[in-house]
Symmetry: C2
Subunit: 215 residues, 2 copies
DNA sequence: AGAAATCTGTTGTATTTACAACAAAAAGGA
DNA sequence: TCCTTTTTGTTGTAAATACAACAGATTTCT
């Protein structure tokens, strides 16, 4: 577990908690670690969960597959980030999406309802968890902003602008390849690829693989 | 304020709090009431807020308007429901969407960060607020599910199925007229209207105004 | 290095959607 | 009630997107 201390220390859930106290918190939250191979499912739609997941290592996608093999990617989770939080609290309903490891990943499960216990870290954990839920909320609202755009070009610009803003630079990498980006924005890959090139011809941006520069 | 006690009592934020204690809680949260006329803005994109809003009366839309007059409705809020919660907690960023009264409305503003104060209701308010944030989260994820559908027909079916499930009946009312539903699903109204009629012809459903029956 | 697999861009066609304009129906106000 | 406004459905055309198929480039694996 020591191996992952730096991840935990810098995760938003453990903000303000001293490094040598983290072990205590993990115990208090009945932490359990598990590893997943590439392509393995961590959660499946329909499940009910009582633990939030903190990604220690790897990358996972929150996604949905329909009968016809269409894939929609709701969100990408990188190491240090938390997922499942909205479905783990108290009386919640079943998960809506599958959660899949897109590469070998290690996950730490934390019994979220234990943070209401009267332990030493109660107050700070509660605050952190609040911020986490609120932030996830804002991320989802932002994604809805992209998805509400009517054309592929507008969706791309909306998404890329956000990424640029997040990177605080017109030059940045995105965490998706073309197929994943298309599944994330709910458009056809080849049509999207085509549109990207048109945007480049129009002088809006340039790109190479997953590196983009907005003009 | 007495006039609205039944709304407060049944709102999720005040769940588990006794009717005669509500006044105390309101005081603790520095409650402030304000009324808005139809079409008036309650919040504007870009603002930073420290109070959550609880709708006492009326209806509001969380929406965005772009340069060309296109409108996107993110969500509808009915009386008793809370909005702005993701942007009011501690260190949050600016609001992304406008919040507009679609009819005459009365709003109660509550200083959300006061629930961390050590008052008598601290624990239950915290729990309630957690559930609220988690639920809003799930609602947004569900809407993303609708918006990820590739065709207008699929979007409609996804949305209407959810409404039917929520009503626990194949027969139900939706809270939008055609234009609003189109703005909610980010499609063209006339094309959507057309698609609805085709779906009726295909025997998938029938409808009259905002009443629908799924087959 | 060489082979296999994956990723990206390109093109043409079919389908879907947006847009605009209008008519009918319903709701609201005087 | 009549008039006005709003809402909904309808149609045709233009534009955008999905779909399929393929070629070149890049990465991965042995």
């Amino acid at each position: 577990m020591k191996k992952y201390l730096h991840i935990l220390k810098s995760s938003k859930l453990f903000a303000g908690i001293d490094e040598n106290e983290i072990e205590d918190v993990l115990f208090c939250l009945s932490a359990a670690k598990r590893s997943y191979g590439k392509g393995e499912y961590i959660f499946r739609a329909g499940e009910c969960i009582s633990a939030v997941a903190l990604l220690l290592e790897g990358n996972v996608h929150i996604q949905r597959e329909d009968y016809w093999g269409n894939l929609s990617i709701l969100n990408k989770v990188s190491s240090g980030e938390v997922f499942g939080e909205a479905y783990a609290v108290s009386d919640s309903s079943a998960i809506l999406n599958n959660v899949v490891a897109v590469e070998n990943s290690t996950v730490l499960f934390l019994e979220v309802n234990h943070i209401f216990n009267d332990c030493k870290f109660h107050a700070v954990l509660t605050q952190n968890f609040f911020s986490l839920l609120a932030e996830k909320n804002r991320i989802l609202a932002q994604k809805l902003g992209h998805m509400s755009q009517r054309t592929t070009r507008e969706k791309l610009l909306s998404y890329l602008s956000e990424q640029s803003l997040k990177a605080e630079s017109p030059s940045f990498d995105i965490p998706f390849n073309r197929q994943q980006l298309a599944d994330f924005l709910a458009v056809d890959r080849s049509a999207m690829s085509n549109e990207l090139c048109k945007m480049r011809d129009d002088g809006l941006l340039c790109f190479n693989r997953n590196h983009f520069i907005l003009k």
